[in-house]
């Protein structure tokens, strides 16, 4: 399984990362990630979307070093504001507040921050190791699948993301459907004739992923940043002590840290489950596995270690379906898949055969970026805290510039500025009405893959490809994932009505 080809690719991946042009990109990504992770109002996915335009001129590994370096940092530094001020710097840093913030109030700020940092590093390394070990296992599975299975898997991925990321599943699936429809705009890949271009030459190349992503995600966030006003630090934090104790805690409770890491990696593999769920699973496990539960919620370091390890191990797990099957496990992975597209890489068999070195470079990037991040955090902890005093309003012009500059840089076209603005408005409407935005991006990213696989499948088998056993299994699973929650909620509503009627007659 782990033969010499694998080993060669494993070492090649490391050499690609240690390249003199790749390492600086990693540092730049980590630097950007520091600011994003610490400042509430922006998320990792939003920043990844904003940074997409900057990867066009980079080599693939440089681009991933930049993006993954940034992403790997955001979960780690998001814990800093959670602990200091009870404000999650990232959505997946919320669970750390429960015990991290009370620890800070009890004068154990340094200990809490250090525990979060060190457990994050352990989690990231565990996630990367598991990713490296899973690759040889999943490779034969990937190679055994054909275009019919990949076609069906894409719909399963959409169904998972729509159903498990919260909100109304029908809206989620529809949002993905809209993304798929938008992905059809442009020249038909088979006949070369314009399709859904409304007579506009600018649409012959399709609607760019970058303008849509930056508009859809960033504009609503910018608006929310302004509406909520500056919400970061309102008080000064004194000198941080007990830092070494936090490091010791991580290794004293090493089993819990490892279990938190395993939870994050395994749940990270499931598309759509997201950080919001996995951090709470890790926290709940820490509580339930403890003999003495009395201090949880009041400043127990174990309440910091488990979610801290879980958040950073998720990336390793999330990369498995993304690289192997082209199924993004989260919004960030959907945007990363967009980066794959931009760099001309296709997830699936290629990434586990001819491009295996790039795949292993991702493993090394996760490890290195987290080592660099944690080392820098320890060195600059007091200075990092000062970043939290930056007023949110000062960010807004920079963010708007990144939105419009990023949209324009995609193809040097003012038309894309309009696209970003229109999708910004659509994003605002979606947020207002409770529609999920990630499935739309997912549909847009998966659209070309679905189209390619459908065309190949039909060309080889006509409609007989739908009768392949695995395709049937995947389609049934997709229908179950999509419709089961709808049927269940209809049944629950009917039971609720009947119960209400029964109570009413009894009264």
């Amino acid at each position: 399984m782990f033969d010499s080809t694998m080993f060669d690719a494993f070492i090649s991946g490391l050499l690609l990362v240690l390249n003199p042009t790749t390492l600086p990109m990693l540092f730049v990504g980590v630097f950007v990630g520091f600011w994003v992770g610490i400042l509430p109002g922006l998320g990792g996915p939003v920043t990844m979307a904003l940074m997409l335009p900057f990867i066009f001129d980079m080599k693939p590994v440089e681009a991933f070093a930049f993006l993954l370096g940034m992403f790997a940092v955001t979960s780690t530094t998001g814990d800093i504001t959670s602990i200091l001020f009870g404000v999650p710097g990232e959505p997946d840093s919320a669970a750390v507040i429960l015990d991290g913030h009370p620890m800070a109030k009890n004068g154990e700020t340094g200990r809490a921050l250090s525990a979060a940092l060190m457990s994050s590093l352990v989690g990231a390394i565990v996630g990367a190791v598991i990713l490296a070990l899973i690759i040889p296992i999943v490779r034969p599975v990937v190679l055994a699948l054909g275009s019919p299975e990949y076609f069906a898997l894409a719909f399963l991925g959409i169904a998972f993301v729509a159903s498990l990321s919260g909100g109304n599943i029908l809206k989620g699936v529809l949002a993905a459907g809209v993304g798929l429809l938008i992905g059809m705009i442009g020249l038909d890949p088979q006949s070369g004739s314009p399709r859904y271009t409304f007579g506009k030459l600018e649409l012959w190349n399709g609607v760019g992923l970058v303008p849509i992503a930056v508009g859809l995600f960033a504009i609503p966030e910018i608006l929310e940043l302004w509406v909520k006003g500056s919400s970061i630090a309102e008080r000064r934090v004194g000198k941080l002590g007990g830092v070494w104790q936090g490091v010791v805690d991580t290794f004293v409770h090493w089993k819990l840290t490892l279990r938190g890491s395993a939870i994050g990696t395994l749940l990270g593999i499931i598309p759509g489950l997201g950080a919001a769920a996995s951090q709470w699973v890790a926290y709940a496990h820490a509580v339930q596995s403890a003999e003495d539960k009395s201090r949880f919620g009041k400043g127990d370091v174990r309440g910091v270690l488990a979610p801290g390890a879980c958040n950073n191990s998720r990336l390793g797990g999330a990369l498995v379906p993304t690289i192997a099957f082209g199924l993004p496990a989260s919004t960030s992975m959907a945007i990363l898949l967009g980066a794959f597209q931009i760099k001309g890489l296709v997830p699936g068999p290629d990434m586990l055969t001819t491009k295996l070195d790039i795949t292993f470079s991702l493993v090394w990037l996760i490890v290195l970026s987290n080592i660099i991040t944690v080392a820098m955090c320890y060195l600059l902890l007091n200075q990092l805290v000062k970043i939290t005093y930056v007023r949110g309003a000062l960010l807004i012009p920079t963010l708007l510039l990144l939105v419009f500059f990023g949209a324009y840089a995609d193809s040097n076209s003012l038309f894309d500025l309009g696209v970003a603005l229109i999708f910004g408005i659509i994003g605002l409407v979606m947020v207002y009405l409770g529609w999920q935005r990630p499935p739309l991006i997912l549909g847009l990213v998966l659209g070309p893959l679905i189209e390619k696989n459908l065309s190949i499948s039909y060309g080889r088998y006509e409609f007989a490809f739908l009768s392949r056993p695995l395709v049937i299994v995947i389609i049934v699973a997709t229908l179950l994932v999509t419709f089961y929650p709808l049927i269940q909620s209809a049944i629950d509503r009917r039971r609720g009505i009947k119960r209400h009627e029964r109570v009413a007659t009894e009264v």
Partner: protein, 203 residues
Amino acid sequence: MLQRKFEIVFSAAIVMMAAYWVWEARNLPPRVQLVPWTIGLPVLALSVMQLVASVRSLRAPAVAGNTGADVLPSTGGLDLSSADAVAATATAELAVAEPEVAPEVARQRGLQMFIWILGFFAAIMLLGFRVGAPVATFLFLHLASHERVKLSLTFAFVTYAFLLAADLSHSVTLSTGMIAQSLEMESFDAYLINPIVRLIRGY
């Protein structure tokens, strides 16, 4: 109620989009019709379902909004019975702890920011990136955010420097804006920057 009406309009828009996609594909060759119909028909069906659900919800009574305090368990503290329970009670507690913005203030600020976003867009379209973005940055920071002139100017200058560097490095060719293009000018700042660039390159 307004939200539900918007929901109907949005759902109807998706129905129309899907219907148009399916209708337009009718003239394509059979092999080429495959993808638009494979995706368009299910999307059309689902969007009609969503539209029906939206219309039905218009008739349903409005549900009173839950405050964080309403969903806290009566026993107080965290419910540790399951991961879901932990998440529910913990997020409820966090929601209570987070300061809320009054709805009227939120609406006003939201509208204000939306207008500034449109203004930023208009500034770049009309004046180009190198002039429009710094001008919009200065105006936003000074007028909307009430920052000091010095700070606003600093941010505007940094914005200009970034865009100038991007333009001169040829990594991207920035638009000079519709006004400069219609006046057949190179850009508004060309008369200032070009001599400096020529001087530097001359050395």
